[in-house]
Amino acid sequence: MSVRRVMGTEIEYGIAVPGHPNVNAMVLSSQVVTAYALESRAPVGARWDYEEEHPLRDARGFDLDRAAVDPAALTDEDPALANVILTNGARLYVDHAHPEFSTPEVMRPIDAVLWDKAGERIMARAAARASSMPGAQPINIYKNNTDNKGASYGSHENYLLSRATPFEDVVAGIIPFFVTRQVFCGAGRVGIGQDGRGSGFQLSQRADFIEAEVGLETTLKRPLVNTRDEPHADPAEYRRFHVIVGDANLSELATLLKIGTTSLVLAMIEAGWALDHLRVVDPVTEVRAVSHDPTLGHRLRLLDGRRLTAVELQQEYLEASRKFVADTYGAEVDPDTEDILVRWEDVLRRLADRPEDLAGELDWVAKLQLLEGYRRRDGLDWDHPTLALVDLQYSDVRVDKGLYHRLVAAGRMRTLLADSAVERAMTVPPEDTRAWFRGECLRRYADSIRAASWDSVVFELKGRTSLTRVPTLDPFRGTRLHVEQLLDDCATAEDLVAALEG
């Protein structure tokens, strides 16, 4: 166990027509998704297969009564909205009035960054396409998490865990980590409080919207640890840990560290490593306190009486991780894990020393540098609208308008991925999970696919009146290694299903 596990991200994007705040966001989002589906010739007929979705199952061991919940929690019920699967195994769809992109399942943190970045590009292309349709208005897309008027939308991460790990251990071990990881993966935000009316800058876009420690909700009373129990895999073996507290990151290093460090800490928890000494008093208050101090000086109160800064607490996680990896792998540590440890250590050291030096690598630092620049040059207070605009436009997904992208173009922001790799990931799936089977089926047998989901591909075959559902319950099966030969041997979907049934 290391940083490698089945994982992925699902990002809700902000969407707007400039000058038209009352536009119907659900309709707009559908237009964006449909425009991309048409352009990429993704079979618009290939819908999402909702049969195995259980959004109300709680990891603490019970199911919520459907009638008792906020309708927004019923995420298995919107067949009317645009919803497509792409040949890279990803899902592009509309969720709660936002266009959303879920990456295909990956095994390596760098692949999570790659397909997440591909999703950004897909969103940009989709919006450009929708905007260029006859009679259409310009549609802007933002990879951020709030409108600074009280609304927040999520950038979620998913990590496959062993079901054998007691959930209470996950909760206890991960909470202090979630409270403090924003020092490197916070995206930065102008405005304090849910409605952004407080003046100032904070590290995280999501911190003010976290209101509980543990819970099932995702749209209100958002918890640090979400208990949704929908593994899309054998529930006896696996749990899908659904993380909702993260910010949307444009920085590739921030995304890499966010995913890689979280995966590593989960590996420690799964192995039963003691992290009790890192527990904090009142994590919900602390996650906001950490966010509200961009000087990184705030000291959290730990249960054992110590008071550490967020960076120091992260350094304790890093130390524990180093020991865990050395103990478990010794010299046999895989390069992905070693890479995460090296980068994590480097970033924490620099955050402790001179955070401003990270302006070329971390979103909140890059954003803050621009903001402080405008404040100094133009004499602006924190409540000046130009600063709110810089915050918002930082995350505009257009390469010619988004400020993150302008920083990259100017050579001021470092990237990890080759352009050609991102372009490729828009249509090609990861090779090491069931996403490969899903994406390749879609590419090879597009006309025969009626629906797909994380754990199934549904075929409409000649000579059969009912649809044929091929389950893909095991996220590790359906890799290129396992099934390429089979797919190469089957020219048609009929051949494939016959081979699978035979």
Partner: protein, 65 residues
Amino acid sequence: MSERETAHKTTRPEPTQDEDVDVAVASASTEQLDADVDAILDEIDDVLETNAAEFVQGFVQKGGQ
């Protein structure tokens, strides 16, 4: 130099020529940093949406997950 050393018998370090140079270098690099940031601000001015107040006020989202 020796006069100062006799007159100020405290533990506080005397300003030396080296420190004067350090302070001078520090201001120069702050200026450099500012000029450096100003350069990117100029570029960003060109792409920033016009009428910030209206644009930001007009950005309204529905809550998501």
